[in-house]
């Protein structure tokens, strides 16, 4: 009996917690489908009489969200792909090659992970101005083409692959390059997927850097565009919630499909932020 009560209690707490976690999302979607008078009704209504899907179209047209969307997709894709490429190469060198200065270089990079990224914004802004890259796609992409966090995660994974495989490939006449892309990378698929998804989420949601290095509408990513839209939307919460929904939705879909990898990625590394 006591065991049963404990079990019921557990579920009650978890359900209550889950409701609190979901509430903002439900409220967002609910508001996004209301007419404006419905949004300010007290007591609040959860399910509008008629679902105002037109809010989404109106919000989408109220600001250049299509453009923001394309920018976000472009920046996220190029950043993630580039970062993955540079990190795979570097992780290979750290895990399979012996070279002078290996330990020193590694320790220096490990040390840089301790530095808050916010501190680097000012000098990076100055550097990019010198390259005439401020307010271009380059500024949004180039500084993020390498991440020591990703290198570190991949290195750990590459090291767990038995050395015998490497020697066998060598005996078969495979070059390092061939071994890396045809053996090591395919074997490490799940870790690579995990770091990729985490990077995609990070890039998609990034705010401070894109806010600082862009000052024209054409270059805004979705979060920056949404923030600018709040001023235009004013108190029209139905439109604002519709716009928020389509900023959030792509990552939620990605998460639902790739949940396994995201969770595994965090569990393995646990150190992002």
């Amino acid at each position: 009996m006591k065991v049963k009560v404990a079990m019921v209690l557990r579920y009650v707490i978890l359900v209550l917690g889950a409701i609190i976690m979901l509430m903002p999302f439900l409220w967002m979607v609910s508001t996004s489908l209301k007419t404006q008078p419905e949004t300010v009704k007290i007591p609040p209504i959860w399910i509008p009489k008629q679902l105002q899907w037109a809010n989404y179209i109106e919000a989408f047209k109220a600001a250049p969200f299509a453009r923001y969307f394309v920018n976000s997709v472009l920046v996220t894709t190029v950043t993630t792909a580039g970062q993955l490429f540079t990190s795979i190469l570097a992780a290979f060198a750290f895990s399979r090659l012996n070279f002078y200065g290996k330990n020193i270089i590694f320790v220096i990079f490990l040390g840089t992970m301790m530095v808050p990224g916010e501190m680097l914004i000012i000098p990076n802004f100055v550097t990019l101005s010198k390259f005439h890259m401020i307010n271009t796609y380059w500024a949004l992409i180039v500084p993020w083409l390498a991440s020591f966090f990703t290198v570190f995660t991949l290195k750990q994974n590459f090291q767990s692959v038995p050395d015998q495989l490497y020697y066998a490939a060598k005996i078969d006449g495979a070059t390092d390059w061939h071994f890396l892309w045809h053996v090591l990378v395919p074997i490490s698929k799940s870790t690579i997927t995990a770091v990729t998804v985490l990077q995609v989420i990070g890039s998609w949601n990034a705010f401070m850097w894109p806010l600082i290095v862009t000052n024209t509408e054409n270059l805004r990513t979705l979060p920056v565009g949404l923030q600018a839209f709040t001023t235009d939307a004013g108190t029209n919460y139905a439109l604002l919630m519709a716009a928020s929904t389509f900023v959030i939705l792509p990552m939620v879909i990605l998460y639902i499909f790739l949940q396994k990898y995201i969770i595994a990625g965090i569990s393995k590394t646990g150190l992002k932020g």
Binding site: E118, P123, N205, L254, S267, G270
Partner: protein, 297 residues
Amino acid sequence: MLNEKPTLKSTAKALLYLLPMLVITIIFNIYPILKSFIMSFYTKYDFFKDIVQQWGGSNFTFIFRDPDFHLAVKNTLIFVVGVVPLTVIISLVIALLLNKIKWLSGLFRTVYFLPFVTSTVAIAQVWHWIYNSDYGLLNYFLSLFGINPIAWLESPKYAMLALIIMSIWKSLGFNIVLFLVGLNNINERYYQAAEIDGANAWHQFTNVTLPLLSPITFLVSVNGVIGSFKVFDQIFALFNGTPGPSKSALTIVYYLYQKFYTEWKYGIAAASGVVLFFMILLVTLIQMWYSKKHVHY
């Protein structure tokens, strides 16, 4: 190969593999670390020509005397203290509960983790709406308990609390995942042994679970403290590009942003970044020192 000594040839080869990463990180990570420290001593600086006309320590004396910076440090500390302990405790409790159930456990995990993947800026708009003093959901719920409407985002008294609540909500999922990993790694036999020794559930928790979980608790706390010290996006989005009513949510990074981006005072902004760096370093060192005594690996 791994057992071989490094040679000039292998070094050259490794360098080629490292080159793309090295170029980017040297320009955008390593050089700017040094540069920030140097820039914090620029007292007269022409950004357009990149000419430093004067050097000195006056940026530091400025921020140490600036009441805004004092406020920023104070608010940041309040935020850290408000967010981290509660996040750790709540996520530990949720993880313990999740660990004990089977049915629907996957669904719960999905739900609790959802805020982690959502854009801070977008979800802050939703919270902005929830906190609305006239029509917001939160004041409606409070009114059911006879509590008068609270001006969450307009009153300097409540703005920080509003920010803390949203931040806890957002960061729970990540920590729950880490705690679940930790719980999963605890060998069932410890509990069996404790059971045989006659330990009740509470004793099992305090004598087995907590000590064995301490490395994860440590990791979660350090992550939480570092992340909270750098809070910015939430504030910008929740208070529509202001540091809250009467600067009640002005934090160190927000101060840095204002000095740098709106006031173009690069040296002062860099100096505040340096202070942030040392504060994070100090707190991390204290936590590490504490963990040496209390964390059982």
